[in-house]
Symmetry: C2
Subunit: 251 residues, 2 copies
């Protein structure tokens, strides 16, 4: 037994509790800026680290969030709940629906798309078991929701597999890439998603418009067809402040 | 179309490539310290931010990792691959195996456990649909692997459900908590895992022994029995440097 297994509640928690109570009683309006670190240090007679922790608690509770270069604001953006199995169910894209619609439940979104045939990067060749020099179609997308960049994703599909399909065009049509793979007899049957998290590189922070201290969640998905052959690799970079990932499975 | 959808490869990448080549050709031995930021800035005649990005690239590739207060080292710790559905399969705990064994594949681990009956926290009461003042058994564990703290987890189980079982003791016996729930007719049939990521609070960084700039992955798992009743909530905090999460599912 050890106390390290469950840390006790210190001073910064009391400060967080007081600020939370104020937020909930509407002392600050939604979207409004929280007092500065200096202001909070003076008010609570606390050290910078303590005040930072107190604010971090509110951010961890989704009550506030840091905005690039301009301090901490009351959160207005509702996290996107990404239910992996539900969004990727064949009953979804198979019926011509966009996978994103199951994430956003009617919230508005915008997608910048770039499609290009390129030589497969080494780690992608490895997944597909390709010979060096093999070609893939790369689909790069930057996803915006309610004016906020939430995800950058890059899909790779073997060129010899998808040549001539709408997958090689910006608009893949109803049901998207997976519906098109189904059209050519390679419907994805199984998915593997691998998740990592780290701080963004500066250009990544710029792309997503997040601070350097906002972790990104990296999801690498591989889609397999009925023969167990990988037919797509999708590397996604998500703003951790914009998402909660959900996975449901049986024992 | 926009270039923002796929950022191009800048200077820090060239620096990362050069350092990677050196690492792979064994210029630095495993576990050895990388040159300091100042050293790299001088060597490459680059700005601090550029050098930081270059090092961040190597960390993103698992080649290096920051150690508390003492710089960047070549990585020696192999990420724990946590396959959620496999580790939680009834064929695993139902056969008396520890869930962790499927993560660690024979790697050594240590667990500090604290078990206590307490009043249910508000958000836990909400999940269980409990009346205010209801009691739960709280199991807090700090997990160490190869001398490294990798995860802190806290499980909550309704007191009226698990009273008198080994779940109320540090050692839950073969198969652990889920096997004991099965013993009393409440085997977990379905699981929901929700994943978030953020920077740690300072006490969290202390508990896990990570730097303040090492994100933690937060996994909140709810286990449901055959009647769809939640029987356990487990809140886990993982060192993002120690893990890759894997989820496999069908379309």
């Amino acid at each position: 037994m050890t106390n390290r297994a469950r840390p006790r509640k210190p001073r910064y928690q009391e400060i967080a509790d007081e600020l939370r109570a104020e937020i909930e009683t509407g002392v600050y309006d939604g979207g409004k800026r929280l007092p500065s670190e200096a202001g909070l240090m003076q008010r609570f007679g606390a050290a910078r680290g303590t005040v930072r922790d107190a604010v971090a608690v509110l951010q961890a509770e989704d009550l506030t969030e840091a905005k690039k270069g301009s301090g901490v604001y009351l959160r207005t953006f509702e996290r996107i709940r990404r239910d992996a199995a539900q969004r990727l169910a064949r009953s979804n894209w198979g019926a011509g629906r966009a996978i994103w619609d199951s994430d956003l439940k009617g919230r508005r979104r915008h997608e910048d798309v770039e499609v290009e045939e390129v030589e497969a990067p080494e780690h992608i060749m490895a997944v597909f078991g390709m010979r060096p020099g093999s070609r893939v179609w790369r689909r790069s997308r930057l996803h915006r929701t309610e004016g906020r960049f939430v995800q950058q994703s890059t899909s790779y599909l073997p060129a010899d597999l998808v040549a001539g399909t709408a997958i090689t065009r910006p608009d893949t049509g109803a049901g998207g890439t997976y519906a098109r793979l189904a059209d050519i007899g390679h419907a994805p049957i199984r998915f593997r998603e691998e998740i990592r998290s780290r701080l963004p590189l500066s250009h990544e922070a710029k792309v997503l418009g997040v601070t350097m201290s906002t972790p990104v969640m990296l999801i690498a998905r591989t889609a397999f067809d009925i023969d167990g052959q990988p037919v797509e690799v999708n590397e996604m970079m998500l703003d951790s402040n914009s998402y909660v990932l959900e996975y449901n499975f049986n024992s």
